[in-house]
C-alpha cells in the first residue's frame, strides 16, 4: 500500500458539500498536482465532522490542523504555506471569538474537545466510500466475533447488558426488543434500520449514514444473527440523496467482500440488505407507519400491541431500530458491555448525538456521554449565545419535544430527566433560543408542524393539533382570552391521552412545556396584548427613535411598503398605518446606530396613536 506523508481530509458531509467541499477538493488536487506533491499528499473525502457551520472543513493529517470556511481561491496559498513551507495558516483557522488567538489543532477546539465519539468515531477520518478504511479502523471485527465466537443468545445478552436504549426517541431497551423478537416462533423475521429522520433541524442519522455506513451495516448483520433474520431493510428518506448513495455503495462493497449476502465470513449465515427510500412523510419515522410504507401502503401507524417484534413487516417478527442505535452495536460487541455501560448514567448508557442549532455560536453535530449537563453542551461545546444575548430556553427532542428554561441548565441529559422536565430525548435535536424568541410563537411553530405532518388517521391528533394551533395563533395575534389557556390544557391532555401513535401523544409537549415554564408570556400576550420577546407582529410596533436616527435613508429604501418617510440627514418616520411589520428597517439600521426599535404592549399602542409628523414643505 502506498504511503503518503500528509493526508488532506476534506469534509464531504451534506453541509460542507453545499458550501463547496467538492470544488475545494478539486482545487486542492489540482494545486497538489501542479506543485508536484502528488506522491506525497493524498486528498481524502470524509464523512461529516459535525461542525457544519464552519464548512467547508479541511483537516491536515497527521498535523491535526483544522481549517475552516475555505474557498478554492484560498488553496494555492494554503498549499504553498502549509504543505511546502510547513507553516500552518492562522487566517483560516478557527477563532472562538473576536480578540482570541486562532486555535490550530482540532483536538483543542472546544467544540470537539468535550465530545466522546463512539457512533461517530470514524467521522472525518475515513472515506465512507472505501470499506478498506472502515476495516482499517477495526471495522467488521465485531461481526467476525459475533458470527464465529458468540451464540445468538450471547449477542442478545451482551446488548442487553450494555444498557443500550433506542436512540430514535422512546428509548426502549434494545436488548429487550431483540430478546422479544428472538423468542417469536414465526418466520421469516426481518430487521429494519429506521433512517427516516424528519425532525426539523436534526441530522444525526444522515450524518452517520454519510460518514460511516458500514457501521450501520455491521450492526444490522449482528442484530440479524441475534434474532435469526435473513433479510433487512434500510429505510432512508429520499431527501438524503448522499446518504442513500453512500449506503448503496457500502452495501455493494460488503456484498463483494462476503460481509453481506450468502455465507457471511464463511460462517454459513445468510443475510441480505436492501435500501428503501421514504417518500417524505414525517410520520413514516413512526415504526408501524414505516413498516406500512415498506409494505407499499400509506404510512399510517397502527395500534400497538402487537409490537413489531411480534408482528411487524408483513405480519412477521421484526426488529426495527434507529440508525444511531444500529451504529452502536458493533462497538458494544467489540469492546464489551462493561465498557459501554461505564459511560453514561444509571439508566441511560453510552453516548448520544445531538444536533446543536439555533442561537448558539458553534452550530453542529455533537456526540456526548449520557448524563452530561445541558450547560456543558450549550456553553462548553456550543460556545454560548452569540452577540452577547441571553440564553432563554433550549428545545429538545424535535417538534414533539419541550422547551427547557434557564433554571434547568444543570439538568443531566438522560431519558428520564428530560421526560420529567417536559421534554424528551427524541432523536436528539437541540434548538437554543435567546431572549429574542417568543415562547408562544415557538409553540405555535411546532404545533403547525405536527398539524401538517399528522397522518390524518386518528381524530385527536388530526383535529386536536389543528385546534391547538388555532388557539395559539389567536394568542399570538393578541386575540386570546384567559379561557384559551384552559382550552389549550384540556386539548393537550385529550391529544396526549387519546392519540394513536407517538406523534400525536407527544405533539402537545411544546405547548405544555412552554405553559409550564413560560406561562407569564402567555398571560402577557392575552392580558396585556404584549409580546415580551417582541416577535408577534400583531403586538409590536416599529419606531424610529428621533434622537438616534441619522437620516441615512437605508431603512427608507428598504421598506417594501413605502411606509417610511424622510430625507437625507433628517429624522425618518414610520407611517404606522402603512407598516406591515416585516422588520426590514430594524434589520438594515446599522448596528452602531440602532435607531429602529420595537415596542410592544402599552408602549407600542401609544405610538400607534401618534400621527406621523407632517413632512416639511
Amino acid at each position: 500500500m502506498k504511503q503518503y506523508r500528509t493526508h488532506l481530509l476534506v469534509c464531504a458531509g451534506t453541509g460542507c458539500v453545499s458550501s463547496g467541499a467538492f470544488a475545494l477538493k478539486d482545487a486542492l488536487e489540482k494545486e497538489i498536482a501542479g506543485r508536484g506533491l502528488k506522491d506525497e499528499v493524498l486528498v481524502v473525502t470524509t464523512g461529516c465532522n459535525g461542525f457544519c457551520e464552519r464548512g467547508p472543513i479541511l483537516i491536515v493529517h497527521p498535523d491535526n490542523i483544522f481549517y475552516q470556511r475555505l474557498t478554492p481561491a484560498d488553496v494555492p496559498y494554503l498549499v504553498e504555506e502549509h504543505l511546502l513551507k510547513g507553516r500552518p495558516v492562522p487566517k483560516h483557522m478557527y477563532v472562538p471569538s473576536a480578540g482570541i488567538e486562532p486555535v490550530p489543532r482540532m483536538s483543542d477546539i472546544d467544540f470537539f474537545k468535550h465530545q466522546r465519539l463512539i457512533v461517530l468515531r470514524n467521522r472525518g477520518r475515513i472515506d465512507p466510500e472505501k470499506v478498506e478504511e472502515y476495516i482499517a479502523y477495526d471495522g467488521y471485527e465485531a461481526l467476525a466475533k459475533a458470527l464465529t465466537a458468540m451464540t445468538p443468545e450471547a449477542v442478545v445478552a451482551e446488548v442487553t447488558a450494555s444498557g443500550l436504549r433506542g436512540r430514535g426517541g422512546a428509548g426502549f431497551p434494545t436488548g429487550r426488543k431483540w430478546a422479544l423478537c428472538r423468542r417469536e416462533k414465526a418466520s421469516p423475521k426481518y430487521i429494519i434500520c429506521n433512517g427516516d429522520e424528519g425532525d426539523p433541524g436534526a441530522f444525526m442519522d444522515r450524518s452517520v449514514l454519510e460518514a460511516d455506513p458500514h457501521a450501520v451495516i455491521e450492526g444490522m448483520v449482528i442484530g440479524a444473527k441475534a434474532i435469526g433474520a435473513a433479510k433487512g431493510f434500510v429505510y432512508i428518506r429520499d431527501e438524503y440523496p448522499l446518504a442513500v448513495a453512500r449506503m448503496g455503495i457500502a452495501i455493494g462493497q460488503a456484498k463483494e467482500r462476503g460481509l453481506l449476502g450468502e455465507n457471511i465470513l464463511g460462517s454459513g449465515f445468510d443475510f441480505d440488505l436492501e435500501i428503501v427510500r421514504g417518500a417524505g412523510a414525517f410520520v413514516s419515522g413512526e415504526e408501524t407507519a414505516l413498516i406500512a410504507s415498506i409494505e407499499g401502503q400509506r404510512a399510517f401507524p397502527r395500534q400497538r400491541p402487537p409490537y413489531p417484534a411480534q408482528q411487524g413487516l408483513w405480519g412477521k417478527p421484526t426488529v426495527i431500530n434507529n440508525v444511531e442505535t444500529w451504529a452502536n452495536v458493533a462497538s458494544i460487541i467489540r469492546r464489551g458491555a462493561a465498557w459501554f455501560s461505564s459511560l453514561g448514567t444509571e439508566t441511560s448508557k453510552g453516548t448520544k448525538i445531538f444536533s446543536l442549532v439555533g442561537k448558539i455560536k458553534n452550530t453542529g453535530l455533537v456526540e456526548v456521554p449520557m448524563g452530561i449537563r445541558l450547560r456543558d453542551i450549550i456553553f462548553g461545546i456550543g460556545g454560548g449565545i452569540p452577540g452577547g444575548r441571553e440564553f432563554k430556553a433550549i428545545q429538545i427532542g424535535g417538534p414533539s419535544g419541550g422547551c427547557i428554561p434557564k433554571d434547568l441548565l444543570d439538568l443531566p441529559v438522560d431519558y428520564e430527566s428530560l421526560t420529567q422536565a417536559g421534554a424528551m430525548m427524541g432523536s436528539g435535536g437541540m434548538i437554543v433560543m435567546d431572549q429574542d424568541t417568543c415562547m408562544v410563537d415557538i409553540a405555535l411553530y411546532f404545533l403547525r408542524f405536527t398539524q401538517e405532518e399528522s397522518c390524518g388517521k386518528c381524530a385527536p391528533c388530526r383535529i386536536g393539533t389543528r385546534q391547538m394551533a388555532e388557539i395559539l395563533a389567536r394568542i399570538t395575534a393578541g386575540e386570546g382570552s384567559l379561557e384559551d389557556i384552559k382550552k389549550l390544557e384540556t386539548l393537550a391532555l385529550t391529544v396526549k391521552q387519546g392519540s394513536l401513535c407517538g406523534l400525536g401523544q407527544t405533539a402537545p409537549n411544546p405547548v405544555l412545556s412552554t405553559l409550564r415554564y413560560f406561562r407569564e408570556e402567555y398571560l402577557a400576550h392575552i392580558s396585556e396584548k404584549r409580546c415580551p420577546a417582541r416577535v408577534c407582529k400583531n403586538l409590536i410596533t416599529f419606531f424610529i427613535e428621533p434622537e438616534k436616527c441619522v437620516g441615512c435613508l437605508l431603512c427608507l429604501k428598504n421598506c417594501p411598503a413605502n411606509a417610511i418617510s424622510g430625507e437625507r440627514k433628517k429624522v425618518h418616520v414610520i407611517d404606522q398605518a402603512a407598516c406591515i411589520k416585516c422588520g426590514a428597517c430594524f434589520n438594515v439600521c446599522p448596528a452602531k446606530i440602532q435607531a429602529v426599535a420595537k415596542y410592544t404592549g402599552e408602549e407600542g399602542r401609544a405610538l400607534l396613536d401618534e400621527r406621523p409628523a407632517p413632512a416639511e414643505p
Binding site: 400509506r298 390524518g456 383535529i463 382550552k487 391521552q497 387519546g498 394513536l500
Partner: protein
C-alpha cells in the same frame, strides 16, 4: 374465560375484542370506526378504555380480551377524554343540529327540507335517522362544541352512477377505504393528502367509475354518516319497515334487507347476517331492486287479445278464455317454456300442470345447458353420483383456483370475494378462456403435465388406469399452440393446480355451453380428480339447482309423446305456454300463445293472453342457490297491480280446465307436495325444515372415479333457444339496458 368489566365479572369465549365483549353484554362504549368484518383500526379513539396494568388508555376495538383482565369503561377521566375527542370530531362535521336545543320540535319538518345541496345540519342530511355519529352524540349527550368548525372544502360529487360523495360529512373513520380493500379487494377508495387536509378520494381524484369501481355499494353501507350516500334514496324519507328477502338477480342468493314505505320499495341493502353474503352485495342487489320491482314495463293486469289488440281483462275473464282455448289442444301439442329465475313452487306447479293437464312432452327450462346440468349429465353417463353442493366459504381456503368461462366480479361477486380471500391467503389463481372446441385437448394436456409427485392417489380401480393411458396420448404441444402460449407456461399452470390445499375448478355457463359433448367436462372432471380438487358449477340464475331437481323428478312423467320442436322437419307445437324465455315469436307461429311473465316484452306483445306474474319480492318462494342451499325468499310487499304468483296462476288455470290435485292455497301447500315428489328437497322444502342453512339432499358421492372419456361423447348442452345468458337479465328485463347508471358501469 372471564374478565371483569366495571366490577362485573363477564364470561367470554374464543378471542373476541374488548369492544365485542362489552357490546355483547350491553355495556355502552361508543365507537365509530370499528365495523364487523373489518380489521380493527383504532382511529376514532372513542372506544378507549382502561385496562388494569396497561399504560394509558387502550382502544377496546383492537385489544383482545384476555383471561383475568380488569377493565374500566366509564371512569370520569375516560368520560371526559371521550367527550373531548367527540368534540374534536364534531369540529370537522356539520353539527348545528346535533347540539341544537330545538332538535325535538324540528323533527316533524325535516323531510321537507332534506333536498339540499349543502348539508349544514342533520335536518338537511341524507343520513338523518340512520347516522351513527348522531346516535353516539345522542348517547353521550353533548351540548356544546367549544371549537370553531371547519367545513372541508369541495362540493358534493355527483359525477358517478348510484353514489354521491360528500366529504364535508366525512369523519375519516376509514371504513369505506377498508371495506373496499379488505373485503372487496377493489382498493378504489383511498386516503388522499395528510394532516387536517386528509380526505377520502380516489387515485389522482378520478371518478369512481374510472377507478375500477364495481359499485357494490359496500362503502355506502359501512359509512357511519351521510358522506357516501345512495343517490336514489338520499332524498327519501326513512323506511317505515324493513324486510329480509333473497336476491333473485343471480345464482348466489344473497340475503337483502328491503326498506319499504307506503307499500313501495325505497331501497335495498345486504343483510349483515346473510349466510351467503355476510353484509355484502353487488350493484344489482344493492341498487336495482326498487327499479326492477316498480318498473314501468311491469305487467300488472291480465290482458286478452280482442280484434287484434290486447286489452285489460279481469283474472276471471282471462283464465276462462285461456282454459277454453287450451282445452282444444291435444297431448303434445302445447310447448311449455320455463325460467329458472322462478321459485321452486312456481316451477313445481308448472311441471305438474304441463304433465297432468297439458300432457306436454317436455318443459323447456333455462336450467338446460347450465353448468350444474352438465355435471349431472356427466355423472349419469359415467354411472356415478356427482356432488354439486358446496359451501362458498370453502373456496376462501383453496390452495389453487382455476376459473373457466366466468366473469366473477360481474356475475358471481360473492364467489369472487372468496377467491380474493383465498388469493390473500396465498392461493394460486388462474383464469382461462379456452378457445371453443379445444377444451378437451387443453384440459387433458394440463392433466398430463401435472407432476407425478403432486398427483393425488389415483387407484387404478376407479378408472385411473384407463385415464392414465389416455393421458399418455395427450398432445401437450398442440394444446399450447391452441392457446397461443408456450409449453412452459402450460406446465406452470398445471403445477400450480397441484397444491396440497384443496383446489377448486370454478365452472361458468360459458364454458359448458361451449363444450361439444361431455368430453371437455369429463376432461375437467378427471383433471380435478387427479389433483384432488373439486369442480364447482357456477350458474347465473336464481334457481337453476331447484329447477334441475324438479325437472329430473318430472322427467319420467313428461316423456309421454313426441317432442315438437319445429326443427329439422319435426312438427311445430300448435300452442305455446311461455313462462320463460322463448325466441322472438313470428306472427302466426303458433295458433295460440299464453305468456305468463312479469315484464312486457316483444313476445307478450304478440301473445293472445298475458298473465301478469309477481316478481320474487312480491311472493314467497324457495330459491336454491349455486351452493345447493335452499332459501325461503320472503314476500316483502303486496303484489303490484293484479300480478299473482306463478303457482297461483297455474293452479287457477288448472281448476278452470277441470283438473284435480291443484288445490293449493299457499306456497307452503305447494312445498309440502314438492317435498314428497322430489326427495332431494326432503327437509329443505318442508315448512319446518326451512332454516337458514338448508341444502338439497344429495346421494353420497365420495371422491368420485375417473370418467372414461369415450363413454361421454353424446350430450346436447344447448341452452333453450331464446334464453339469455346475460347476468343482468331478470325475467326478460335487462337491468343494464333499462338503467342508465348500470349501463354506464357495464359499458366501461
Amino acid at each position: 374465560m372471564t374478565i371483569t368489566i366495571d366490577g362485573r365479572s363477564i364470561a367470554f369465549e374464543g378471542r373476541p375484542t374488548l369492544l365485542e365483549v362489552v357490546a355483547a353484554n350491553g355495556i355502552f362504549v361508543p365507537s365509530l370506526c370499528d365495523h364487523p368484518g373489518l380489521e380493527p383500526y383504532a382511529a376514532c379513539r372513542l372506544c378507549l378504555v382502561e385496562v388494569q396494568g396497561r399504560k394509558g388508555f387502550v382502544p377496546a376495538c383492537s385489544t383482545a380480551a384476555e383471561e383475568g383482565m380488569v377493565i374500566r369503561t366509564s371512569t370520569p377521566e375516560l368520560v371526559a377524554l371521550r367527550r373531548g375527542i367527540l368534540e374534536l370530531i364534531l369540529a370537522e362535521h356539520p353539527h348545528a343540529c346535533l347540539i341544537c336545543s330545538e332538535k325535538t320540535s324540528c323533527d316533524d319538518f325535516k323531510s321537507t327540507i332534506r333536498k339540499t345541496g349543502e348539508v349544514t345540519g342533520c335536518v338537511l342530511c341524507p343520513a338523518n335517522g340512520r347516522c351513527q355519529l348522531q346516535k353516539v352524540v345522542g348517547a353521550m349527550g353533548l351540548e356544546v362544541v367549544p371549537f370553531p368548525s371547519h367545513r372541508r372544502p369541495g362540493e358534493v360529487r355527483r359525477d358517478d352512477p348510484f353514489i354521491d360523495r360528500d366529504n364535508s360529512l366525512c369523519i375519516l373513520c376509514g371504513r369505506c377505504v377498508r371495506v373496499c380493500r379488505e373485503v372487496r379487494g377493489a382498493s378504489v377508495l383511498t386516503f388522499v393528502s395528510r394532516g387536517s387536509g386528509t380526505v377520502i378520494g380516489t387515485a389522482i381524484d378520478r371518478r369512481l367509475i374510472d377507478s375500477g369501481c364495481q359499485f357494490c355499494g359496500a362503502c355506502v353501507d359501512v359509512c357511519p354518516t351521510g358522506s357516501l350516500a345512495d343517490r336514489a334514496v338520499r332524498y327519501e324519507r326513512l323506511p317505515e319497515t324493513e324486510k329480509k328477502s333473497v336476491c333473485p338477480f343471480c345464482g348466489q342468493g344473497c340475503s337483502l334487507t328491503v326498506g319499504l314505505r307506503e307499500g313501495r320499495i325505497l331501497g335495498s341493502a345486504p343483510d349483515p347476517e346473510g349466510r351467503v353474503n355476510r353484509g355484502q352485495a353487488c350493484v344489482r342487489g344493492r341498487f336495482l331492486v326498487k327499479q326492477a320491482v316498480h318498473h314501468p314495463r311491469r305487467l300488472l293486469r291480465p290482458l286478452v287479445r280482442e280484434n287484434g289488440s290486447l286489452r285489460n281483462a279481469t283474472w276471471e275473464e282471462a283464465l276462462a278464455l285461456a282454459a277454453e282455448r287450451l282445452a282444444k289442444f291435444g297431448p303434445g301439442e302445447v310447448a311449455v317454456a320455463a325460467s329458472s329465475q322462478n321459485s321452486c313452487e312456481d316451477l313445481y306447479v308448472l311441471h305438474k300442470f304441463a304433465a297432468e293437464v297439458l300432457k306436454a312432452p317436455v318443459v323447456v327450462g333455462t336450467w338446460s345447458g347450465s353448468a350444474a346440468e352438465g355435471l349431472r349429465a356427466l355423472g349419469r353417463a359415467a354411472g356415478q353420483a356427482v356432488s354439486l353442493n358446496f359451501r362458498m366459504s370453502d373456496i376462501g381456503f383453496a390452495g389453487a383456483i382455476l376459473i373457466l368461462g366466468e366473469d366473477l366480479p360481474r356475475a358471481q361477486p360473492m364467489v369472487g370475494l372468496q377467491v380474493n380471500k383465498a388469493v390473500a391467503r396465498g392461493a394460486a389463481l388462474t383464469e382461462l378462456r379456452i378457445p371453443s372446441g379445444k377444451e378437451e385437448l387443453f384440459l387433458t394436456a394440463l392433466a398430463a403435465l401435472v407432476p407425478k409427485a403432486s398427483r393425488a392417489a389415483a387407484p387404478d380401480a376407479d378408472g385411473g388406469k384407463t385415464f392414465k393411458a389416455h393421458l399418455d396420448k395427450a398432445d401437450t404441444a398442440a394444446a399450447a399452440r391452441a392457446l397461443s402460449i408456450s409449453k412452459k407456461e402450460l406446465l406452470e399452470v398445471s403445477s400450480r393446480l397441484a397444491d396440497p390445499k384443496p383446489s377448486f375448478f370454478l365452472l361458468g355457463p360459458d364454458f359448458v355451453s361451449g363444450v361439444a359433448g361431455l368430453g371437455g367436462l369429463a376432461a375437467l372432471w378427471n383433471l380435478a380428480r387427479l389433483v384432488g380438487g373439486r369442480v364447482i358449477p357456477l350458474d347465473r340464475e336464481a334457481n337453476v339447482r331447484g329447477g334441475l331437481v324438479i325437472a329430473e323428478a318430472f322427467s319420467a312423467r313428461l316423456s309421454a309423446g313426441p317432442v315438437r320442436t319445429g326443427t329439422s322437419g319435426q312438427p311445430k307445437p300448435r300452442a305455446l305456454y311461455l313462462a320463460g324465455p322463448y325466441p322472438k315469436l313470428e306472427p302466426g307461429e303458433a295458433e295460440f300463445v299464453i305468456v305468463q311473465g312479469s315484464y312486457d316484452d316483444e313476445n307478450s306483445a304478440l301473445a293472445d293472453i298475458v298473465l301478469p306474474e309477481t316478481t320474487s319480492f312480491e311472493a314467497e318462494g324457495v330459491l336454491v342457490n349455486i351452493e345447493g342451499r335452499a332459501q325461503l325468499s320472503a314476500q316483502v310487499l303486496e303484489p303490484l297491480g293484479e300480478a299473482k304468483p306463478g303457482w297461483w296462476i297455474l293452479k287457477s288455470l288448472a281448476a278452470k280446465l277441470g283438473a284435480t290435485g291443484f288445490g293449493f292455497d299457499s306456497a307452503e301447500d305447494v312445498r309440502r307436495e314438492l317435498a314428497a315428489a322430489a326427495p332431494a328437497f326432503g327437509k329443505a322444502a318442508s315448512p319446518a325444515g326451512l332454516g337458514d342453512d338448508e341444502f338439497l339432499a344429495e346421494e353420497p358421492a365420495g371422491a368420485g372415479a375417473f370418467i372414461d372419456m369415450e363413454s361421454v361423447r353424446s350430450w346436447d348442452a344447448r341452452r333453450p333457444p331464446g334464453a339469455s345468458r346475460d347476468a343482468d337479465d331478470y325475467k326478460g328485463l335487462h337491468l343494464a339496458r333499462e338503467n342508465k347508471s348500470l349501463k354506464l358501469v357495464r359499458g366501461r
